[in-house]
Amino acid sequence: MNTQSLSKVTIHFAGDSGDGIQLAGSQFTNTTALAGNDLSTFPDFPAEIRAPIGTVAGVSGFQINFGSEKIHTPGGRPDVLVAMNAAAFKKNFPNLKSGGIIVLDSAGFDKKNLRLAAYDESSTPIEDIPKDYQVYAVDITKLNREALKDLSLGSRDKDRSRNMFALGFIYFLYSRSLQTTISFLEAKFKSKPEVLEANLRALNAGYNYGDTIEAISRFKVAPAQMEKGEYRNITGNQATALGLIAAAAKSGLELFYGSYPITPASDILHELAAHKNRGVKTFQAEDEIAAVTSAIGASFGGALAVTGTSGPGMALKTEGIGLAFMLEIPMVIVNVQRGGPSTGLPTKTEQSDLLQALYGRNGEAPIPVIAANSPADCFSAAFEAARIALEHMTPVILLTDGYIANSSEPWKFPQASSLAPINPPIVKADAQYLPYKRDEREVRSWAIPGTPGLEHRLGGLEKELETGNVSYEADNHQAMVKVRDRKVRLIAKGYPAQKLIQGPPSGPLLVLGWGNTLGAIQVAVEHALEQGLAVAQLHLKYINPLPEDLGTILSAYERVLIPELNNGQLARVIRDQYLVDVEVLDKIKGQPFLAEEILEKIKSLVEND
């Protein structure tokens, strides 16, 4: 048996949505992270909790890309496919790299499963795999039942540990330790000793199976050359939650999170609800509107108030966000974007709520918009959104999306002491308090109920300059619209200078991105540069207001390409703001970009010139 060293591997786990694919994937991820690889993951599950068993619609997938080199994306075509049934194979085999490795449970290819996967009953998909693929067709179901035969669990319960058998086998193939998963199982099934025993045996049986079959080649992926420091693995939704908790700590405020369950944002609520011991107040509201308006109440009461949702929920919150804007109170609105419009593609990703974030309110109501670009970046984006909200007394929209929300990557987490303090303009006493008197940044001060002498009334009606009293006066309204707009535009004064991620400071092409496209663009531009194409990369975190130096950067390139997972929304904004022509690469398939899709577009633009 030989062990081959690899610098990078992409594995795709797939099975029925009841097969425990996400669990197997996340366990492989944790083990891989602790082994020191850089990695990126992408879970992809059906919208239905239990789609019809065995069908292609019910296939749940989890992809991980890991390596001894820097990893920017969950990988394009996988090197390895783990398929627990015929449907999982049917859906994912076409994506597998030519000559790749296939691990499959042959029990999942019986007549019934073939029929459910809409194969011809006479077809023989396993036998039909071309010879250059390396196929491990293992009767996992049978071997697993054999390993658990003396346990008193029913065979259905025994079969539930098939995922651990498959995972054990993959651990063997990639020379991984079982210890992380063993500890995890021991904690998870502490109160169910028989289930624990079944899972541990299945895991070991899978590993040992790999050890006993002959002529198998194993692989080793050495630890990556990562920047020195302490790391953990984190998903985007977890990072968003931690960013908000950190911002509350750094501003000396309590965190209030009002939310209504919605895919793919609910995990933020779950994560925050688990941190009550830090004083986090979570409120599962009766609807999206109560979620945002309860946050408005909490903000008025002096909390760092946050509401989180996804596209359809944003639509419902619109009026509330307008009120927060009009009141000029701090609030963060997290939109974990998913495929739209309407209910759209709840479990799939998209970047199509950008224009909604920028413009989706009645009246003149500009709101700062920040976009996170990777799972770990959700932490700093959430922290920054909270900072701007609190220091500039405004609602801020934080855009993440289903892809980075559920994906994970190693995160070199910051020391708490390295996070800058956040200073909300709280006023404790004032002989003549004027709620809408502003400082040089046009920011008003924040008098919190309970503070003696500062009693005042706020509302959604137009206000008189400084006093905040209701005013229907014509010139006052114009002045107020202008001052609120100016206040938001002045936020850009506090941005750091925009820095190119790579490429020359001027030339034929700039690839401009925002949000989750960062990794795919980075890989594409790296390849383009390696191939001698003079392409540069810039990625936007701040979408409203746009950075003041963006126009100068854009003007240094002959062309600008914006790849986005929508029908060209940032492109419209850039054309509108800078009058530059923009090439759009759109992808509206519910899936993130593959680097090669962007590279191809880059080549078509630069080589044709």
């Binding site: 700590a249 011991n277 986090v280 109440g297 009120l323 003696p452 009334r457 959604g460």
Partner: protein, 336 residues
């Protein structure tokens, strides 16, 4: 009840400097005046009082109180107030809403507030009409009501607000009326003492679009026969002591006290009895006099107290995680 001399500020200080802009003769003036006279005596500091309203005529109320206040958006005051109370349970929070704001566009928030039992006082000004939009029928307007939006008569069956509140398991349910200042002040004071959501329906005359809707409950000549004032432990008597209500099983009956019945036969008001409260709330047609006062009250833990208790419990058993430990999580590794 608190003695007037314990007032922390004066009624004059309770009023803001803003000019009140309801139509002359509007019932809202009376409610505002009673609130301004009651609130200084509740033993609550002015800075700890907050009025939250939605949209509608009644929702201008916070602008006229010299306390903290927010005039929010249509129907959402219960949710805004809930968030505020969770953020700072020390505040005395009053929700001002109307029949359109609270029962139509904001109906969902109202019922969820009541079941959660957040410690707020909800004052629902019911004038059975949309006033601010100039006279369309509301969810409490009677069927067949002719308005600009229902020229042939409204087809909507009206809500019975108190029955709705009881159905949502409200812990304090009362009714009062703008034209009876003494009763109104009494109900406001009692509601303030209740820990949990107090729901108070206030019949309020809209003299422009629905004048006289409650005349039979306020007019000196008529009201005796049409109202019952609920008093704890007292028999249900009306029409100047001439008539009463008795319970025949679960069926209420009007009895004549001048012809064979005495106070001993009558229903004794018990605001802790949920079944009786529900029967009382069904006194909603012309067959029975309309009850005023506290229909129902119960002690049930309020939402924000339990939220704080959970937080304290979590702190106790888990300790307050250091921010560094939180960021590090359970599994971290070091790259040298």
């Amino acid at each position: 009840m608190t003695e007037p001399n314990s007032a922390l500020f004066t009624a004059k200080e309770a009023a803001s400097d803003q000019e009140v802009r309801w139509c002359p003769g509007c019932g809202d003036y009376s409610i505002l005046k009673q609130m301004q006279s009651v609130i200084p005596g509740l033993g609550i500091k002015r800075e700890d009082i907050v009025f939250i309203s939605g949209i509608g005529c009644s929702s201008r109320f916070p602008y006229y109180m010299n306390t903290y206040g927010m005039h929010s958006i249509h129907g959402r005051a219960p949710a805004v107030a809930s968030g505020l109370k969770m953020a700072n349970p020390n505040l005395s929070v009053w929700v001002i809403t109307g029949d359109g704001d609270g029962l139509s566009i904001g109906g969902n928030h109202l019922i969820h507030l009541l079941r959660r039992n957040v410690d707020l006082n909800v004052l629902l000004f019911n004038n059975e009409i949309y006033g601010l939009t100039k006279g369309q029928y509301s969810p409490t307007s009677e069927m067949g009501k002719r308005t600009k939006s229902s020229p042939m008569g409204s087809l909507d069956h009206p809500f019975n607000p108190l029955a709705l509140a009881l159905g949502a398991d409200a812990t304090f349910v009362a009714r009062t009326i703008d034209r009876d200042p003494v009763h109104l002040r009494g109900v406001l004071e009692t509601s303030n003492l209740h820990k949990g959501t107090s729901f108070i329906e206030i019949y309020q005359n809209c003299n422009v679009f629905n004048d006289g809707a409650f005349l039979s409950y306020s007019d000196k000549k008529q009201k005796g026969q049409h109202i019952i004032l609920l008093e704890e432990g007292q028999p249900l008597v009306f029409d100047a002591g001439k008539k009463g209500i008795r319970l025949n099983g679960l069926k209420p009956e009007i009895v004549d006290l001048e012809e064979g019945f005495s106070a001993n036969d009558l229903w004794i008001h018990d605001s802790r009895d949920a079944t009786k409260a529900y029967i009382l709330s069904r006194f909603f047609d012309d067959n029975f006099p309309r009850p005023f006062g506290v229909f129902y009250q119960e002690d049930r833990p309020c939402y924000e107290e339990q939220l704080i208790a959970q937080i304290n419990h979590a702190k106790e058993i888990q300790g307050e995680t250091d921010l560094d430990d939180l960021l590090r999580g359970k599994r971290s590794w070091t790259v040298d």
